[in-house]
Symmetry: C2
């Protein structure tokens, strides 16, 4: 059993990814949708707003209108695009958001401590949070009956309100809950890079103890969240986390074979 | 067991509907999203195109781009809005399109015979079709485990391609497949009207034999499809079909109590 997360940035070849993935069995797919979200939200007159927390992580500020657009892009466009491609490739995929059957349950953040123009600020009304419980009963029910779950944020709060959650950390939580052996995170970069400008500078191996230092030194932007997700997965019992690229043919197979960054 | 379809036209009060629905057990919900689709597709520069078939029924012309927007609005915005409201009301809802687990499987129309400017014309490339099979195994699996399915088009063709299908007829097919006793179709009109301009002119009772004549005489626009759906449901063994309004409080309860049009 493994969990694979496919990102939503520009340059990812979803057809090649699905062709590759369709050869595997016994996995859960988690996906992103950030570049589509940016494009569609901007067309709808509501471009995404990003904030930087005091701890240095970047996240999306999610008000109600943003959440509705988020649902459209992630649970509508991206999720059904992947389900259709998988079904076409013979995989009996079933697409679900974290709201459905309360698959991804958690806590809404009370307030976000951010840095704006160099100053600390408290931001309220953000519909985002942290996953604390994964409904493995429903996931196992589907897996046991031959369905392949294709999951996407948002999650749902204990009060029954949709909350935006980070996709990489969401995949890590699912891997932990399902006692998966492996978590594979594919994106438009080929792994953790020593030099963000040089795709040849992939760091091949990272140990658990190096993660925190590497978040500070090498990771930029969303790579920080991927390392944090890797840390959470390893601490929860997942044996290894692989970070790989998804721009060409057979991205999953190549990453499993050792291209990219291996964290264990 | 009953199937309830809630429309997507302007004026429907989804909060009142969910408050009412949350009191019931053992049902499947099917929903529409037409007014939201029109609004969002227009904002995205791709307003819906409607065509009229030679037999007088109106339907949406669905090319690939329209289908993606359809997925965004129906499977993304509307489906997750209803799932969130139901979850908030304590119902363990699970939202699915017909693609997911091949719940709604069918045949893509080869070509559409339409009337344009009074002349017959053949239209190709339309990603729409007819549902021929409902995956009751998956629906029952979910119902038996305490989940309430919330379903939306599109369906999926035997070749694994998404196809747009009519929501009312989709609800009828599900009711037949699940051997439901009752199909309730709620929309922004209070039932079949003798005079489309007069909401007081609801026809209280329609028999199976009257349906065809009433499609010709009283039904306008989407009401024609609702009567066709009613006919398909009755012919498939559903005992009665109720058409009711969803603009005020307790729309389902009022319709079950006899407001609206009863077809049996």
């Amino acid at each position: 059993m493994f969990v694979v997360k496919i990102g939503g940035s520009k340059g990812i070849d979803y057809d090649a990814f699905v062709r590759d993935l369709a050869q595997y069995r016994d996995y859960v797919l988690v996906h992103g949708g950030s570049s589509q979200l940016e494009e569609i939200a901007t067309k709808l007159g509501k471009p995404p707003v990003f904030v930087t927390s005091v701890s240095g992580f970047t996240s999306r500020y999610t008000d109600r209108e943003t959440l509705e657009i988020f649902n459209m892009v992630y649970a509508g466009k991206m999720n059904k695009m992947l389900v259709e491609k998988l079904q076409h490739a013979g995989v009996n995929a079933i697409g679900l958001s974290g709201l459905d059957g309360r698959i991804l349950e958690g806590r809404q953040k009370e307030a976000l401590k951010i840095i704006e123009n160099g100053r600390k600020k408290i931001l309220r009304g953000d519909l985002s949070g942290i996953i604390e419980r994964v409904n493995t009963q429903l996931l196992k029910l589907l897996l046991d009956h031959g369905y392949t779950p294709v999951l996407t944020p948002p999650a749902i709060s204990y009060e029954g309100v949709a909350i935006n959650v980070d996709g990489d950390r969401c995949a890590a939580q699912i891997a932990v809950a399902l006692k998966a052996e492996r978590l594979v995170i594919l994106s438009n970069v080929p792994g953790l890079l020593r030099d963000p400008q040089d795709p040849q500078s992939v760091i091949e191996r990272v140990t658990r103890d190096q993660i925190e230092a590497f978040i500070e030194t090498y990771a930029r932007g969303s790579m920080k969240k991927k390392l944090l997700a890797a840390q959470e997965a390893l601490d929860g019992g997942v044996k290894e986390v692989l970070l790989g690229g998804a721009r060409g043919e057979a991205p999953l197979t190549k990453t499993l074979q050792g291209m990219g960054t291996r964290i264990c």
